[in-house]
Each structure stands twice: as structure tokens, then as C-alpha cells.
């Protein structure tokens, strides 16, 4: 294996503009988006078309490379979630040798290449999963109670401070639940389950006047 970048990495984004569909495209079409009103105690917002990378490998090497390339420290503790100063790039602990990086759309491939260069001969793996999942934000005073209806994981602030993220059960599917800020929660859901999760959120959130910001 001479040049890992050339043989392994694969930029899945077209260089010309082509129509795209986020994992919730069908849901918007079929189920629609209830509007946000004064009564909305929780608001949903999809952050579509972001770059999602899975990093595998040893924490020390990955931490060094990540600091160099992204200026972000690798969360060493289970459940850790770090954001950059702009709050748009993040890295989350998934397992002792697995992390999830989320960056603005279009940055993923360049980031992957820079990481590969920085990592050199270390044992690691980087997998682009951008097409396979999407991020849904939840905001509002009822967001936590909506999560309580949906996940058995304890989302009380005492157990779920800002800067935490966990992979857990969500209704009858699974999701990554994250708390990037005091008032905002994020769900990272798999593409094929996204419609189910969306319909679940609208149903369970009806009580809180749930609205969707397109």
C-alpha cells in the first residue's frame, strides 16, 4: 500500500451541481412539516448534507492528527463531545477506538485527506458515512420531555450535561443523542430510519405543538 489517499479515500461528492435529497426528503413530501408557531414548545430542524466521518484507531495518534488538522481535541472520556470555537465542527466519542466527526458539507473529503496525511503510518481507519445519516436539531422547553418519551437514556441535566453524546435506543430504532449547548439537542439518525424517527417525533411532539423549521 503506497499511497493510502489515492487508493482508499473516495470523494463521493460530484464536482458539478446535481440535485440532492437528504434522508428526510421523502418525509417532507409525504408527512409534511408542521409550522412553528407561538405554541411550539419544541422545534425540529434538519442539518442536512453535513460531512460525517468515522475515525477508528488509537486515541493518541488520532488526537494529535485532529489537533493539527482541525484544532480540535479528541474526547478521551466516554460520551465526550467537543466542538470547535464556531460550534460547527464536532467530534464525539463512540467507543474506545471510534469517534464521529461532523463538519459542514463539502469539508469531509478534504478533511479525510489531511487526516490521512497527518496520520502517516499509524494504524487507523477513516470511513465516510455522510450519505448514511442525518442530523436533527431539537430546541425548545419541551425538547427534553420529548426525548424522555423517545429514549430510555437519562437526559436529565445531572446525567446529560452539555458536551455529551451517546448512542442509544430511540423509540424502536437507534440514534446518537447529543447536547451541544444548554438549549439544543441533536439526534444523529440513520438514513433508512430517518422517516420513522421523524414521524415518531411529530407524533410524540404533538402535545408540545412541535414545529419543523425547513
Amino acid at each position: 500500500m503506497s499511497d493510502p489517499v489515492a487508493t482508499t479515500a473516495f470523494d463521493t461528492r460530484p464536482d458539478t451541481s446535481v440535485p440532492t435529497e437528504s434522508p428526510l426528503a421523502w418525509s417532507y413530501h409525504e408527512t409534511g412539516c408542521p409550522g412553528v408557531s407561538q405554541k411550539s414548545r419544541v422545534v425540529l430542524r434538519e442539518r442536512a448534507m453535513l460531512g460525517h466521518l468515522i475515525l477508528r484507531g488509537g486515541a493518541i495518534a488520532l488526537d494529535e492528527a485532529l489537533r493539527e488538522v482541525l484544532g480540535l481535541a479528541l474526547p478521551a472520556r466516554p460520551g465526550g463531545l467537543n466542538h470547535d470555537s464556531e460550534g460547527v465542527r464536532s467530534i464525539q466519542w463512540l467507543s474506545p477506538d471510534e469517534w464521529l466527526v461532523i463538519v459542514p458539507g463539502g469539508e469531509a473529503f478534504a478533511l479525510e485527506q489531511r487526516l490521512r496525511n497527518a496520520l502517516g503510518g499509524a494504524h487507523y481507519a477513516i470511513v465516510d458515512v455522510s450519505g448514511g445519516q442525518t442530523l436533527i436539531e431539537l430546541e425548545g422547553e419541551a425538547a427534553r420531555e420529548l426525548l424522555m418519551k423517545s429514549t430510555p437514556y437519562d437526559v436529565h441535566p445531572a446525567n446529560f450535561p452539555v458536551g455529551k453524546g451517546v448512542t442509544t435506543v430511540f423509540a424502536k430504532a437507534t440514534a446518537i443523542v447529543r447536547r451541544p449547548t444548554e438549549d439544543r439537542w441533536e439526534l444523529v439518525v440513520r438514513r433508512s430510519f430517518a422517516d420513522y424517527c421523524y414521524r415518531w417525533l411529530l407524533d410524540a411532539g404533538e402535545e408540545y405543538g412541535v414545529g419543523v423549521e425547513a
Binding site: P78, S95, P96, E98, P152, Y153, V166, T168, V169
Partner: protein
């Protein structure tokens, strides 16, 4: 519904996140071809079903995806400990109250010297 401490996520999680994978510490014979049919059959099909302390292999399937072991009392369903792959249990049928600390340390030492950690 068990409440299981994942030794990798380092917190208690709901049973829904885990899959049980049967009896723990069933190592695959190093040289399967050298096994008699009976030995191979034992490895494949025969498992203990003790009343009391039992060591089980579980995986944090909806979580960190790591396998680990649980020492569980099959009567009270109490989980006495969970431990990572390659580690040895502190609570055993011979030591239902837990092995002495020195013994645990010595066993850990022995494990750390092994090449490639086995189930």
C-alpha cells in the same frame, strides 16, 4: 429489564441496548483440527446452566459495540460485576463474595503478559 454497567462506556445502560451472547470464557480450541469430534462437539454445543453465579458474554450492541463479560447471579438476577474482554472475574462460584485483591491483581498481571487477549 437489566441495568447493565458497560465497562467501556463506563455507565449503567438499559438492557435494550445490549445483546446477550451466551456463556463467557468459551475459548475456541487453538487447533480445531486436532480436536476429536467429541471435543469439538463440546465446544460447539455444551454450556453450563448453573444456579447461582454465572459468567456471561454480552455486547453493547446499541452503544459502543464492544463485547464484555457479566458475572450474574441466576437466582437473584443481581449483576455482581462487568469486566472487559481478557479480564478475569472477581466473583466466581468458588468466591461468591469476591476474590481477595491480591489474587485479582496477580491474575490481571498474568493476563497482561498473554499475547493476544482471548475470551
Amino acid at each position: 429489564m437489566f441495568h447493565i454497567y458497560c465497562p467501556y462506556c463506563e455507565e449503567l445502560r438499559e438492557e435494550e441496548e445490549f445483546h446477550p451472547k451466551g456463556q463467557a470464557h468459551i475459548a475456541r480450541p487453538v487447533d480445531p483440527e486436532a480436536c476429536s469430534d467429541e471435543e469439538w462437539g463440546d465446544y460447539l454445543f455444551f454450556r453450563d446452566n448453573p444456579r447461582g453465579i454465572h459468567h456471561e458474554l454480552w455486547v453493547h450492541a446499541v452503544g459502543c459495540r464492544k463485547f464484555f463479560n457479566i458475572t450474574r447471579n441466576t437466582v437473584s438476577y443481581e449483576i455482581l460485576e462487568t469486566y472487559r474482554m481478557g479480564e478475569q472475574p472477581r466473583f466466581t462460584a468458588g468466591h461468591p463474595e469476591g476474590k481477595p485483591a491480591e489474587q485479582v491483581a496477580a491474575e490481571a498481571e498474568a493476563v497482561s503478559r498473554q499475547e493476544g487477549v482471548k475470551a
